[in-house]
C-alpha cells in the first residue's frame, strides 16, 4: 500500500473513536490516514462490549456479524446476594457486541470512504514546523517514518501519548481511573438476555463486577475498582474471588486487563492542528464506565468538524473548538451530572446498597424505572438529594 506524504487528517488509534473520526472526516471530503500500533484493527478487545440500542442505531444498522447477544434489561445484585431486575422499558434495550468485528467493520466503512489505514505503526513523536504542529513520527516494521497533516487526531486511549506530547496534561487522578480485568467465561448459567451488575465494597471497592452474556453460555465477566480503595489487592484478585464463589465451574477462554477513565472530559481537547477523541479525551460515562455510544458521537462530531476545517483551510484551535462545544452540548454536560452521581453512588456502604436493592424489590417490576431507582437511592441517602439539587441548579 502506498501512503501519501501528506494527509488532511492523521488519526492515531483505530478504535471506535479514531475510526469514527476518520469515517466522518472522509465522508465529508477530507483525506485521512489512520495509524494503529497493533498488528490488526479491533484487537485486543479491552471492553465489556455492551452498547444501548439507541446509541448504536443512531449510526449503524445492527448486523448479526458483530452482535453477540440482544439485551432487554439489567439485573442488579446487592452485596448480600439479593437482586432486582430493571426492565428495558426503564433503561432501553441493548446489545453485547463482538467488538473485534465491530471495530473492524467501522474501519472497513472508513476504508470504503477512502481512508488509508496502516497497522504496526507506533507513533512516538510529533513533528513541528517552527512551533506549528504538522505531522507525526512513527516506527513501522523497524523503520522510522513520518507523515505530515494539517490535523492530528489523538484517539490513542487513556494515556494519550499524543495529548502528552502536545503539552496537554492527560494524567488521571486515582479516583478517576478504574483499572479492570475481564475474562471471557464459558459454562455460565445466567439469564442471557440480561446484563448483570454486582455491587459491594468487598466485591469491587469503588466499582462493580459485570457479567455481559455473549450467547452460547458465554459471558464477559469483568471488574473495575478504585485503586485507592483496593486494600492492597489488585483487580484480578477481586475478580478471581468473585468467580470462585459465583461461577466455580466456569472455564476461561480469554483474559485481558484494561483502564477505564471515569473522569469528566478534559478541559482542553483541541489545540491548533490537534484534536483528542475517545478515552484520550475522557468521554465515557463516569458512573458506568460505559463509553461506546458516547465515543461514536464524539468521533462523528470530531470528524465532521475536521472536514469543515479542511474546507475552510482553518486549523486553529479557535475553529477546532467547535468540536469541543458540540460535544459538550450533546454529551459532555450530561457527563458532568454523571460524574457527580459517581462520587455519591460509590460511597454507599454495603448496608445501604442492600437496603436500596431491598426497597427496589418491593416495587412491581413494570413500575421499576431508572427514575424509581434514583428515587429509592435518594430516599436512602438524603445527602444525595443535596447533590442532585446542586447538579440540576
Amino acid at each position: 500500500m502506498n501512503l501519501k506524504a501528506f494527509y488532511d487528517v492523521v488519526v492515531v488509534g483505530s478504535g471506535p473513536a479514531g475510526s469514527m473520526t476518520a469515517l466522518f472526516a472522509a465522508k465529508n471530503g477530507a483525506s485521512v490516514l489512520i495509524l494503529e500500533r497493533d498488528r490488526e484493527v479491533g484487537i485486543p478487545v479491552r471492553c465489556a462490549e455492551g452498547i444501548s440500542a439507541r446509541g448504536l442505531e443512531k449510526f449503524f444498522q445492527p448486523d448479526e456479524r458483530w452482535i453477540a447477544q440482544k439485551i432487554d434489561g439489567a439485573k442488579l445484585y446487592a452485596p448480600n446476594g439479593e437482586s432486582c431486575i430493571i426492565n428495558a422499558g426503564a433503561v432501553g434495550d441493548g446489545y453485547v457486541l463482538e467488538r473485534r468485528l465491530f471495530d473492524a467493520f467501522i474501519c472497513e466503512e472508513a476504508a470504503k470512504n477512502g481512508v488509508d489505514i496502516l497497522t504496526k505503526a507506533n507513533v512516538h513523536d510529533l513533528v513541528f514546523d517552527s512551533s506549528k504542529l504538522s505531522g507525526v513520527k512513527f516506527t513501522h516494521l523497524s523503520k522510522e517514518k513520518q507523515v505530515k497533516a494539517n490535523i492530528i487526531v489523538g484517539a490513542d486511549g487513556p494515556e494519550s501519548r499524543i495529548g502528552k506530547l502536545a503539552g496537554i496534561d492527560t494524567t488521571l487522578k486515582l479516583e478517576d481511573i478504574e483499572p479492570g480485568v475481564q475474562y471471557l467465561l464459558t459454562d455460565i448459567d445466567l439469564e442471557a438476555e440480561l446484563t448483570h451488575f454486582y455491587f459491594g465494597n468487598e466485591i469491587a471497592p469503588g466499582g462493580y463486577v459485570w457479567v455481559f452474556p455473549k450467547g452460547r453460555n458465554m459471558a464477559n465477566v469483568g471488574i473495575g475498582i478504585r485503586p485507592d480503595r483496593s486494600n492492597g489487592k489488585n483487580a484480578q484478585q477481586y475478580l478471581d474471588g468473585f468467580i470462585e464463589k459465583n461461577f466455580p465451574d466456569s472455564k476461561s477462554l480469554a483474559f485481558i486487563a484494561g483502564a477505564v477513565p471515569t473522569a469528566q472530559t478534559l478541559p482542553e481537547i483541541t489545540r491548533d492542528n490537534l484534536m483528542l477523541v475517545g478515552d484520550a479525551a475522557r468521554q465515557v460515562n463516569p458512573v458506568t464506565g460505559g463509553g461506546l455510544s458516547n465515543i461514536l458521537v464524539a468521533g462523528s462530531i470530531a470528524g465532521t468538524v475536521a472536514a469543515e476545517a479542511v474546507k475552510k483551510d482553518d486549523f486553529s484551535n479557535k475553529f477546532l473548538k467547535k468540536y469541543h462545544k458540540q460535544w459538550m452540548k450533546e454529551k459532555g454536560n450530561h457527563q458532568k451530572v454523571h460524574y457527580k452521581l459517581k462520587q455519591v453512588f460509590f460511597d454507599f456502604s454495603d448496608d445501604e446498597l442492600n437496603e436500596i436493592v431491598g426497597l427496589l424489590q418491593g416495587i412491581p417490576q413494570e413500575k421499576l424505572t431508572l427514575f424509581q431507582l434514583f428515587k429509592t437511592a435518594v430516599r436512602n441517602k438524603p445527602s444525595l438529594v443535596k447533590e442532585l439539587i446542586k447538579i440540576y441548579l
Binding site: R46, N234, A235, Q236, A259
Partner: protein, 61 residues
C-alpha cells in the same frame, strides 16, 4: 523507592501510563516501560496495575 514493569506479566493495558504524573511510562505494542531517571517513586502505577505487573526496585544500600 522506584518501580519497574515485570515484562512477562504486562498486558499493555496502559493503566500505569494513564496515572503517571511524570509521564515516565511509555507503552509499546508488547509492554510498558518505566523510565527510571524521571520516576519519582510515587507508587501510583504500582497500586493501579490490575494484575500486579509492577514491582518495587529495592533501594541500593
Amino acid at each position: 523507592m522506584k518501580y519497574k514493569v515485570i515484562e512477562s506479566l504486562c498486558d499493555v493495558c496502559a493503566c500505569c501510563a494513564s496515572v503517571c504524573p511524570q509521564n515516565a511510562i511509555i507503552m509499546s505494542e508488547q509492554k510498558a516501560t518505566i523510565f527510571l531517571d524521571i520516576c519519582i517513586g510515587c507508587a501510583k502505577c504500582f497500586i493501579t496495575c490490575p494484575i500486579s505487573a509492577i514491582e518495587e526496585i529495592p533501594d541500593e544500600s
